[in-house]
């Protein structure tokens, strides 16, 4: 499964022409916003490189991230698995099961120790000894720590492994944490999203295979090339925001005219992702194009930031009881102040009378 094999040899064996290979490299370079010359560099590097060993660990997750990747259009999953990487362990996609599956992971770790890429989706439960999610009787925590030791780098795919995600949401009953909360001594790249855009997952993997390192990251360890701009910055409805034209409901005239969804709770202005540019389903559309606001799923704690339909500038809490109590308190203190002042006024009046 993990035989040393250059990508060039693999391509020759499968009968893929150099033209097709260059087209693929150009598409990847374009996706990553690399200069045109990078396509040739990428082709040259990939020809000579060994297929990258990848171990994919799925922890406390819903398999949405893997589902997303299997819908990747450019490159396709087939291209990824058979041309660029050697996916040595992924318990949803691999044919092996039980002891044979775990054996595949151990063999891959041994064969490429210090060189393999570790991909993680799902958060890691830490409460009660991590018993809330186990694979082959091994807790997610233990498996992550063990597998991370021999990894060249780690890619946290999805919001759960990047920030804890939905399992981390209040009250976080399993003590779910992100990969970066546990692994401190390895380069970790976060590719958040619930799920992440398939092309983004594929693009960052292509970059790592080509250059042998992670791309430039932002303060939340996200690849800048995909997470530098907000959805709002790149949204095709942005001109309506600038004009002050907003849909008030999902079926009013503004909604039908395609006006900005800010008043309907769109989190586009505070969400950094490439949905508005790369889009989904092979570039067909993204949620805002379908008439629904952005949920902000690629941001930390997106589940605990109030309703998805609550506009960004509004208060998060129901302040009515606090305001009522404060008003009553103010009335009480004001009345006492007035009584004291009136007494003082009376005293002054009495003195003036004398």
């Amino acid at each position: 499964m993990n035989e040393p094999d250059t990508l060039g040899a693999s391509l020759t064996r499968t009968g893929i022409s150099r033209r097709s290979f260059l087209k693929f490299c150009t598409a990847m370079a374009s996706l990553m916003a690399l200069p045109p010359s990078a396509a040739y560099a990428m082709a040259d590097a990939l020809q000579r490189t060994q297929r990258q060993s990848v171990i994919w660990l799925s922890f406390q997750e819903c398999t949405g991230c893997v589902e997303s990747l299997t819908r990747s259009f450019d490159p396709t999953l087939e291209q990824m698995i058979f041309e660029m990487i050697s996916l040595d362990y992924q318990h949803t996609l691999q044919a092996a099961s039980g002891t044979a599956a775990e054996s595949a992971r151990e063999q891959a770790m041994k064969a490429s120790y210090g060189k393999y890429l570790l991909i993680v989706d799902g958060s890691i439960p830490t409460k009660d000894g991590g018993v809330y999610s186990t694979v082959a009787g091994i807790s997610n925590y233990d498996m992550l720590v063990e597998t991370a030791k021999g990894a060249a780098a780690i890619v946290s795919v999805g919001t759960c492994s990047s920030y804890g995600g939905i399992p981390h949401a209040n009250p976080n009953p399993t003590g779910a944490v992100a990969v970066t909360d546990i692994i401190k001594d390895k380069p970790v790249m976060n590719v958040p999203g619930c799920p992440p855009i398939p092309s983004v997952i594929a693009g960052v993997l292509a970059y790592f295979v080509t250059y042998g390192k992670l791309p430039e990251l932002d303060h939340l360890n996200r690849p800048k090339v995909f997470f530098a701009d907000t959805i709002h910055d790149r949204c095709y409805r942005r001109p309506f925001y600038d004009q002050g034209k907003f849909a008030k409901t999902f079926d009013d005239e503004g909604a039908r005219n395609g006006w900005c969804l800010y008043e309907l709770g769109c989190k586009g202005p505070t969400t950094y992702n490439a949905c508005a540019t790369i889009k989904w389903n092979g570039g067909v559309s993204f949620p805002i194009e379908s008439g629904h606001g952005c949920l902000g799923c690629s941001e930390p704690n997106f589940w605990d930031k109030g309703s998805f339909y609550q506009p960004l500038p509004t208060p998060l809490a129901d302040n009515a009881p606090v305001i009522a109590a404060a008003t009553l308190g103010g009335i009480a203190v004001g009345t006492v102040a007035a009584v004291v002042s009136r007494k003082h006024q009376a005293d002054i009046g009495t003195k003036e009378g004398k």
Binding site: H232, Y262, T314, P315, A317
Partner: protein, 217 residues
């Protein structure tokens, strides 16, 4: 909890609480003060028309003082109107008020808001410059004047930066903008910004007194 969550959550809750507490305390403390007995014969049966009349007439300079006050008054009016347009005309602000009161009204085009915001900032800088350069005004000014100016201009500046996405990430700018509003709300009842409510009480009281005495308003 990130900065925006803090601003939209506990910061605003505490600011609202302090604002309404302070406003009710101060307004009630003043309104319940004992009135001096007036033993003179009232010239008019009702005095409230005089209160309203004086509130209006005192909002406009008297002819004899006009040359000396027209500049300060004009700049003052400009930034007050600018603030009203920005605060009550901008769509996200209307959303904010709607979430608190349930009231809704149409928003102004963003271009109008941006221009009003820029004019308001310019006018506020001019009034500060005038306060700093005029020896008499500088002598009369204290911390309250300068801090009230600061908490007034800060939300306008941070709001403009948030809208333009200038200087930091939008979520940070929005959080700072909301925090600056929280600061304004906290200071409002206890500083000179309270004039926005007290000006009507003081002028109304004087007007009612003048009406009763038959004085010219």
């Amino acid at each position: 909890m990130d900065l925006l969550q803090f601003a939209r959550g506990p910061a605003l809750t505490w600011a609202f609480a302090i604002f309404v507490f302070g406003m009710s305390w101060r307004l009630l403390g003043i309104l319940l003060l004992k009135r001096r007995p007036d033993y003179s014969e009232p010239r008019h049966a009702t005095s409230w028309p005089g209160a309203i009349k004086l509130i209006i007439t005192r909002s406009w300079p008297r002819r004899e003082f006009r040359p000396r006050t027209v500049f300060g008054l004009s700049v003052g009016y400009i930034f007050h109107f600018g603030l009203v347009i920005v605060v009550f005309g901008f769509a996200p602000h209307i959303m904010f008020f709607r979430s608190l009161t349930g009231l809704d009204w149409p928003n102004l085009p963003n271009a109008v808001i941006y221009i009003s915001g820029a004019i308001t900032i310019a006018a506020l800088i001019i009034v500060l410059g005038r306060r700093l350069t005029n020896p008499v005004m500088r002598l009369l000014s204290n911390f309250d004047d300068y801090f009230s100016w600061f908490v007034t201009i800060t939300p306008v500046v941070t709001g403009m930066l948030a809208v333009a996405h200038l200087g930091a990430r939008y979520e940070t700018l929005l959080a700072v903008h909301i925090l600056s509003i929280a600061l304004l709300l906290v200071w409002f009842p206890f500083g000179k910004l309270m004039h926005s409510a007290l000006i009507f009480i003081s002028r109304g009281t004087t007007g009612a007194l003048f009406e009763r005495k038959g004085a010219s308003i």
